[in-house]
């Protein structure tokens, strides 16, 4: 019952966001200085607080090491929200976030992103990709510490739904992540 309540609450909030057309968050200015100091992630998802665990790993290609950030939020024991931002270069800077549509975009050091919801870690509920009509997605790497193997930064990304469980009838059409701030230790 608890699980049902939690999930229904999630769907309720999502449904509310879609139906009532929340006020668009004001895009952040990447030039603002803001440095998270605690490990983890905080962000606003559709204007509501969204806290998630954060992991950072590298994957290799012929042109170098690409950083992957994975933010996981467990809605309950069964449902997981998963936000990926990957193909990040290992240097400070502000980068646009693109949607992958062809192989050459997967390992080109231009970050890409997706947001997915899974039941049981492997039963998909819905997938969201960056809205390609917008140009204000970004990830800002504020600091790489190559000794401590940590990465700090900020991001915002605006997602549109691309696939969903046909029985998830009240799914939102979009998911907006703003004011994302992370500080993550990179796993080797």
């Amino acid at each position: 019952m608890k699980l049902i309540f939690c999930f229904l609450s999630l769907l309720f909030f999502m449904g509310q966001c879609r139906k009532e057309a929340p006020v668009e968050p004001v895009p952040a200015n990447p030039k603002d200085t803001l440095i998270p100091v605690k490990y983890g992630l905080t962000a606003l998802k559709d204007g509501l607080q969204w806290e998630a665990s954060a992991t950072a790993t590298y994957y290799q290609s012929g042109i170098g090491k690409h950083l992957r950030l994975v933010f996981l939020r467990k809605i309950n024991n069964d449902i997981t929200e998963r936000l990926h931002i990957e193909d990040i270069a290992s240097s400070a800077g502000t980068y646009p976030i693109e949607r992958v549509t062809k192989a050459s975009q997967i390992k080109n050091f231009i970050p890409n992103s997706f947001f997915s919801i899974y039941l049981d870690e492997e039963q998909p509920v819905g997938h969201f990709f960056p809205d390609t009509t917008r140009r204000d997605h970004f990830i800002q790497i504020i600091q790489f510490d190559s000794v401590a193997q940590t990465v700090r930064g900020r991001f915002q990304v605006f997602m549109g739904i691309v696939a969903f469980d046909p029985l998830w009838t009240n799914h939102p059409d979009s998911v907006l992540f703003t004011k994302g701030e992370f500080f993550v230790k990179i796993q080797q």
């Binding site: 699980l3 990957e86 992958v100 192989a103 492997e122 046909p166 009838t169």
Partner: protein, 618 residues
Amino acid sequence: MLLGQTQLFTLPSGTISLTSEAASRDTALRGSLQNQTVEIVTIADVRTIGAYDTVWFSLPGQSAQIAAEAIYIEDDSARFVWGAQLLNRVGSMSLSYDQQDGISGFLQIRDTFYDITHASGSYQFFVQRKNPDKPDCAAIDTTLSPPGPDPSCTDPTGFSDYNTCPALIYALVVISPTASDYILNQSGAGSIEAFIRKGQNQINQAFANSDIPNKQVLVKWIEKDYSECLTEDIYSDNQNIFSSCLAADWEDSHCDILIALTNENYSIGGLSSNIGPNAGFPFCIVEAPSYASSSFTFAHEVAHLLGARHNWNGNFGGDDDTEVCAHAYRSFYPPIPVVANGIYDVESWATIVAKEWNLQHNWLISIPLSSGGSYQVKFVKSIRLLAYSNPDEMTGTSWANNARTIRNVACTVADFYANQHLSVSVSESACRLLPYYLTANITAPEDGIPGISPYTVEWYWESSLLGTGDVLTIEHHPNCRMYWVKCIVTSTDGVVVTKLFKVDLRRGGCICVPPIDPEEEDERPAGVKDMPEQNLSIFPNPVSEDELMVVAPSLSSQNTHITVLDAQSRVVLLKSLVFGANGQASLDIKGLPTGLYLLQVGGNRSSVFSSKFIIQTR
């Protein structure tokens, strides 16, 4: 090849010598409220019986002959698995010969489920399980069921309880170099073809085991290096491979679904992109080591693409509580005896799409007792049955019905690329109206694809050839509620498509015949046994007036309902009819056009009478 009668199950004579462990197991099995009967048998070696061979056998202590066709053979150094579909019963069976665990398996005949487990030496336990959905199990205090279906749970519009629509689903498996290396050097399969066919056969055997008729998955495979789309994370790769690396291959293949076969040491053995049907993203990843293992990962992920879902939240670790009606099923056999507050190690079994159970978690599950209190169980073994949940079988309950979902969704998926290959469907004439016709509807493949015309069509019941040609005429139905006819279409260039068609005399506009005692059930070929005598007559017949006299002495002085169906089995008249003391009633047929009709009279399923009549020009 047709084999003669095989003494598959032999009841040993004389004293049986069991180990003390087997003797304890025997006592526990016989004391379990979940078991109907427990026999100790010796099982014949079927390892010499090849694929598509037919074997006849009888159950222990019974004489009725059952025919089974081997449609799934798995043979590696450690284990031999023999799977078969029953030909003259609805059901399937599987026997596994394992060097370590001996002979085990199951036999399923409609809703009767037999477990076969190793006892000791050459002996096996042959245990008829009680079906948990049957009323006589209601008193069992195991409370295996979850709280019940979500009241808001609804199926999508158009779902059918028993959708027999034909579906030939073509799956393109794209094998990465690392997966290819695994197959050839580590899997023991010997060849990629053999390895791939194993997964295909598992799905089709699971369809047969789950009463999913007329559906078939056919796998085509190619090898390709798509490492540019691999990033060591299955969730990322799941998003990228399909659209960025393999979309063109999928288009060229004219397949319905796409599977990337990898060997990337991902954290999980497979991942589906969607709960189907989704024509825009019909993709999943399967790790080669898990592909056709006892986890049946290929069958699991493909089933997701066909709409199947995990088990219900309350059903032992499943988590699917999102207004969905289709679920896998997990259960266990309760310990005997059981006492309140006890903690017991038990074996768990689950259907293919159930959530994988991690034994290392050592989770304790609390099971309430009807007498009050509860006990706890820990799963020490998790076994996947090669079946999709189905409430008509041991492998499901009314709320666990992935079989229904697949029966409905598979046809949509099969049409993602429609009619590109040789395909065959079987259609029937109006049910029970004799002569009864089955028609093979053959769709030729596109140019360049094997399966060219002309075709030969053969129709079989059991091993008997019923006829040839596109249309089969059946003059008499066998005296049973349903039977299967096999249609084999062979193209000029040697492509063979086999369709099994269930003639179900209980469904949609068909006449219900009295229930038959399963022990007495005789499903002999057409014409062997006469139709039961019906206590119903009609006059005049043919009729040219607006009134028909119906005579049913057993219904004298009764008010009962009647149904009139036209030649297409459509209900054209439905009303109550009052029979007089002489057993006669007058039926107003004004307004019905000329033609052949079927009159059904009766108040309940066990007392339905029928008769044909003809309306002539008035």
